[in-house]
């Protein structure tokens, strides 16, 4: 597969390490009420779609960016590649 890195352009998927569902960005607050249930969901419950999937890839043999890659798990078509940091900020994460 070829991943079109937003900063570096097309890169072979061999340069990357795969992590999984991009929802791992949405880590709950460990100090909030109900954190146990929230973390149970976060750590264990994930969709496994046959089709479009937003997933985390790490450019380990490259610039060490974490990317959010929108990929069809059936056809491997990649429709969007974003810096995970930008996605995290958009979803309200900061420091």
């Amino acid at each position: 597969m070829i991943i079109n890195h937003p900063l570096l352009g097309p890169c072979d998927a061999q340069e990357f390490t795969y992590k999984g569902d991009a929802r791992l960005i949405d880590r709950p607050d460990g100090m909030a009420d109900g954190a146990d249930a929230a973390f149970y969901n976060y750590a264990y419950l994930r969709d496994n779609p046959a089709g479009q999937h937003r997933e985390l890839w790490f450019h380990e043999q490259g610039d060490r960016s974490w990317l959010v890659v929108t990929r069809n798990t059936v056809t491997h078509e990649i429709t969007q590649v974003e810096l995970a940091r930008d996605v995290a900020r958009k979803s309200g994460r900061s420091a």
Partner: protein, 982 residues
């Protein structure tokens, strides 16, 4: 018969000598092994897989199922090589396979008489009882009897390489369509790669007699190839098979650089595995002719009509003086014409069609079928049932069978595409869903005439290039034949005798009928039950026939019956090419520590730790066992001072205003308040609450930490921290960089450690116990100004430091330490002594942080802060991980100090049966402690902290060890920590 007096693309001025089954023969440059054997009158080339039937060539290409040979000898011996694709070279040696004692008399031909018992599914039905006999008796016998070639056990002496190529257009196949496409794209300036599996480009143009304009096919090809070769933007790869179409325009290719030579030229690879990145690809892989099944259709001398014509036209080799052709379409007549023109006698054209056209120079038997053949080691005659029902015998030495052409759609299906049926040509053609960026032209698309191939290739290239912004002009293409396809599908002649569909797997029409009868009717079931289409040829000549017979039996159309899935590789790829240079010592990179050269000089024994080579121990003269060396290193370190290279531990530099806050979330214990100049032990959890890795973090400045990880987890921990930094807390002011390779680091441990270091640390740095206490750190200089980092941390439990200098000074530093330490009898120690000392001290390491244990299990439950949010803290508190009888890290001492305890042993009550239900825990690390003069161990025991002093069994059903052990604290040595604070 032998070589025809004229013609062929062979160099008759040169003769080359080769051997087949020990016999010497001569051929010419341009020959394949198959064409040279036929030219020498050799039709018998192999024995079949199951029935050991005598076999010759069926085809003239890479789809060959029959003529498989063992090529070369010694370490270069290569089984299952298709004689039809082996380019002849001087000194070639080939052996027939699957025959004993000889190809002409094969003892296992008895299988042929037993065929009633060896039908489809015989594996599943026979040899069922007793079960244990299968593995030990039946399978080895069957494997030996029903086999392909044998592999050599000697190492392959040749070099294989890998490479990467990029192009605008990849043209797969250099027949008329591919060459026209390449010419169009090449002239337009596009970056073009043309790959063709043959050693001579041109595809079928090499095997046909018709003209292109005023030129022969071969001359036109030569002219086009010469022009392409002159273009700097075109790369021609002959002897190169595109074996797979992968995601996003990536293609796998094998270039057989030296397979046509006796041995590769010095420093040249045998084969190269190319990974080709293409913007667009045009598949021009042509078509493969399919046979017709009839009784005894597998004798040497019976082959596809196109192969017969290729041997005559391209190689001037006719397998016999008199031949016949059996056809269901007009293309069979073309073979007969070509053979007549070459001076070969054609006894008749047997055409299944009632309305078969006439042919000048040969008798056409319209509406006739071949019902049987004769000739055990080579075809002698065929029996024909004429349209009027009468029988006629034709004495022929070869029979060309023309069942129609199948577009070569394999690569179009590698991304789940399914071919669709085309009635006009009675064959499957590529479907609408093609791999990204691929188009198909020529015969592979079902356009069989040369005219259609030339124009299809050129037009497709222009269309494709326009897509990527390159405009190309249409080339002048020569006038070429444009014959229509006239075919009346005909798959097999009825009858009770065996009629072969799959020659490689010995699958007959009967087998398909049996599969149908036993309800294995879907094509995928049919394949598995009968083995139709398996093995090295993947059914290139057999799948269609098999599924046509199945369609007939089920009453469905061929289209509804469907095909099995085509998967890579298109043709077999050697393991050598896939491995490339990753063999032997180069299988993976080897990382050497900065003291490696010095340790080698000391005669160290090394151990692989991940990719690293680390000194395991340093034997001295007179030491007979590793234990003697390790015991000495431990005792010497604890008595005076020892030095160990610990560079392999991961080092991550953490900088930024939020560095402390960041580490506070990464580690389960607190880091926010760690003072500058101090080090703290840290435990990282996974988000599910399980311990991930441990190490230290040293605060060199307000905004600067150095984190260490275990050797094994250096990469995963760095990845994890980057994930936290970029994905979880994107606005924290913190930067990370791995500095594992940047610093050479040595542990200096033992009561004299400080005295030794004081000799090399520059005098302005006070490292006395008061100024530089346990868990202090600082940036210093050594040896007169060399920058260094000093950490007062201890893995051994002794007064100890770790000192780091830039890597290039690592070798100098170890030599200086050893020199300065002479007065203290400084002792280098390896990973074994390191391990013994950490077990004696009760420190957890990789064996304990095994991905199943928690901070609580490790006895560090109270370290997990509930005053902050750190990774894994929440889930570490869940009930399941906090049971009262949960595992706890404890120590074990055998009642008999000489009795060994093994890591992996399980703990049981005395007298309890060795069952999983009675399992109380397990030993994780064990060693002989020279200080305690006893074996010792640490491990996990249910409610272990409440069982101090109890005696249990540590038993291993694997080794038979069964030792009574006392439960003790894991801290065997200096539990109060006085030594490390000294």
């Amino acid at each position: 018969m032998s070589r025809l007096p004229t013609g062929g693309q062979i160099d008759r001025t040169r003769k080359i000598s080769f051997r087949f089954d020990g016999q010497y023969y001569k051929g010419h440059p341009g020959d394949t092994l198959a064409s040279a054997l036929l030219a020498n009158g050799v039709r018998l080339m192999g024995r079949s897989f199951k029935y050991h039937r005598p076999r010759g060539v069926l085809t003239a290409g890479s789809e060959e199922p029959n003529a498989l040979v063992e090529l070369r000898t010694g370490g270069r011996q290569e089984p299952n090589t298709r004689a039809t694709t082996v380019e002849l070279f001087d000194g070639l040696q080939a052996h027939s396979q699957n025959a004993w004692p000889s190809l002409k008399f094969d003892a296992l031909a008895i299988n042929d008489r037993l065929s009633n018992f060896l039908t489809a599914g015989f594996y599943y039905k026979t040899f069922m009882w007793p079960a244990a006999f299968w593995e030990k008796l039946y399978e080895p016998i069957i494997r030996r009897a029903a086999g392909l070639g044998s592999i050599t056990t000697k190492p392959d002496p040749d070099l294989y390489d890998k490479g990467f190529l990029h192009c605008d257009l990849l043209v797969i196949g250099a027949g008329p369509a591919g060459l026209a496409a390449a010419l169009t794209a090449g002239r337009a300036g596009a970056r073009v790669i043309v790959a063709d599996e043959d050693f001579r480009m041109g595809g079928r143009l090499n095997a046909e007699t018709f003209t292109l304009g005023a030129q022969s096919g071969a001359d036109w090809t030569a002219q086009v190839v010469a022009e392409l070769a002159s273009l700097p933007n075109v790369r021609l790869l002959s002897r190169t098979t595109i074996f797979g179409a992968f995601d996003h325009g990536v293609y796998g290719a094998v270039e057989r650089v030296s397979d046509h030579l006796l041995t590769p030229a010095p420093d040249k690879p045998r084969q190269i595995l190319w990974r080709i990145y293409s913007k667009r690809a045009l598949l021009c892989a042509g078509a493969l002719e399919r046979p017709i099944a009839f009784a005894n259709n597998d004798r040497p001398g019976i082959m596809t009509a196109s192969a017969l014509r290729a041997y005559v036209n391209r190689w001037a080799a006719s397998p016999a003086e008199t031949v016949a052709v059996f056809t269901n379409n007009d293309d069979g007549h073309r073979t007969a014409s070509d053979l007549l023109a070459a001076g070969v006698k054609v006894a008749a054209v047997i055409d299944t069609r009632e309305d078969a056209p006439a042919l000048q120079g040969a008798e056409v038997l319209a509406g006739a079928q071949v019902t049987d053949t004769a000739g055990r080691l080579g075809l002698k005659s065929v029996t024909v049932r004429l349209a009027n029902g009468k029988s006629r015998k034709l004495d022929v030495g070869a029979l060309g069978v023309a069942g129609g052409w199948n577009p070569n759609v394999a690569l179009t299906c590698h991304q789940r595409g399914r071919p669709v049926w085309n009635n006009a040509i009675a064959a499957f053609v590529p479907g609408a869903e093609l791999p990204q960026g691929m188009a198909v032209a020529g015969a592979a698309q079902g356009h069989f005439s040369t005219h259609a191939a030339l124009h299809g290739g050129a037009d497709s290239a222009r269309r494709i290039l326009a897509d990527i912004g390159i405009s190309a002009a249409a080339p002048d293409l020569p006038q070429a034949e444009d014959a229509p396809v006239n075919i009346t599908p005909f798959w097999h002649v009825g009858g009770t005798k065996r009629a072969w569909l799959d020659f490689q797997n010995d699958v007959t029409v009967k087998d398909v009928k049996l599969a149908h009868q036993e309800n294995f009717r879907s094509v995928e079931h049919l394949k598995r039950y009968t083995t139709l289409g398996m093995a090295t040829d993947q059914g290139k000549t057999s799948n269609m026939g098999g599924l046509a017979v199945m369609a007939e039996l089920t009453g469905k159309s061929i289209e509804a019956t469907g095909t099995t899935i085509f998967r890579p590789p298109y043709t077999p790829v050697s393991m050598g090419a896939l491995a490339g240079r990753s063999t032997g010592r180069d299988f993976k990179p080897t990382r050497l520590t900065p003291s490696h050269k010095w340790a080698t000089e000391q005669g160290a024994v090394f151990v692989e730790v991940g990719m690293w080579l680390r000194a395991q121990w340093f034997p001295r003269a007179g030491e007979k066992t590793w234990r003697e060396s390790v015991d000495r290193e431990v005792l010497a370190t604890r008595a005076s001072v020892g030095v160990c290279d610990v560079t392999t531990l991961g080092k991550i530099d953490v900088q930024g205003r939020d560095a402390a806050a960041f580490l506070n979330r990464i580690y389960c214990n607190g880091f926010a308040k760690l003072a500058v100049g101090r080090v703290r032990y840290g435990l990282m959890l996974r988000e599910d609450g399980i311990a991930m890795d441990d190490g230290t973090a040293a605060r060199l400045a307000e905004d600067h930490f150095v984190v260490t990880t275990t050797t094994a987890n250096a990469v995963p921990v760095y990845r994890h921290m980057e994930f936290a930094r970029q994905c979880l807390w994107p606005d924290m002011d913190v930067q990370l960089i791995s500095t594992t390779e940047a610093w050479a680091q040595f542990a200096v441990a033992g009561p004299n450690a400080r005295k030794l270091l004081q000799k090399i640390v520059d005098p302005e740095f006070d490292i006395s116990n008061d100024a530089f206490p346990f868990m202090a750190c600082g940036e210093i200089t050594v040896c007169g100004g060399l920058r260094a980092r000093l950490f007062r941390i201890s893995f051994s439990g002794e007064l100890a430091y770790e000192i780091a200098v830039p890597t290039r000074y690592g070798d100098a530093l170890i030599r200086r330490l050893m020199q300065a330490g002479e007065e203290f009898d400084v002792t280098p120690y390896g990973t074994e002594a390191l391990g013994v000392m950490r077990i004696e001290k009760g420190h957890a390491a990789g064996n304990e942080l095994n991905g199943q244990t928690t901070a609580r299990d490790l006895g560090m439950g109270r370290m997990v802060s509930d005053k902050k949010d750190s990774i894994g803290a929440v889930l570490s508190r869940r009930e399941g991980l906090n049971q009262p009888d949960g595992l706890r890290l404890v120590g074990f001492k055998p009642k008999n100090p000489k009795a060994r305890v093994l890591a992996g042993a399980h703990l049981l009550e005395i007298g309890a049966d060795m069952t999983a239900a009675n399992d109380l825990g397990y030993v994780t690390s064990a060693c002989y402690s020279p200080c305690l003069k006893s074996f010792i161990a640490i491990g996990f025991l249910k409610a272990g902290d409440e069982r101090m002093g109890d005696v249990l069994r540590a038993a291993s059903p694997l080794t038979g060890d069964d030792t009574e052990v006392e439960i003790v604290s894991a801290h065997f040595i200096d539990p109060e920590g006085e030594r490390l604070r000294a």
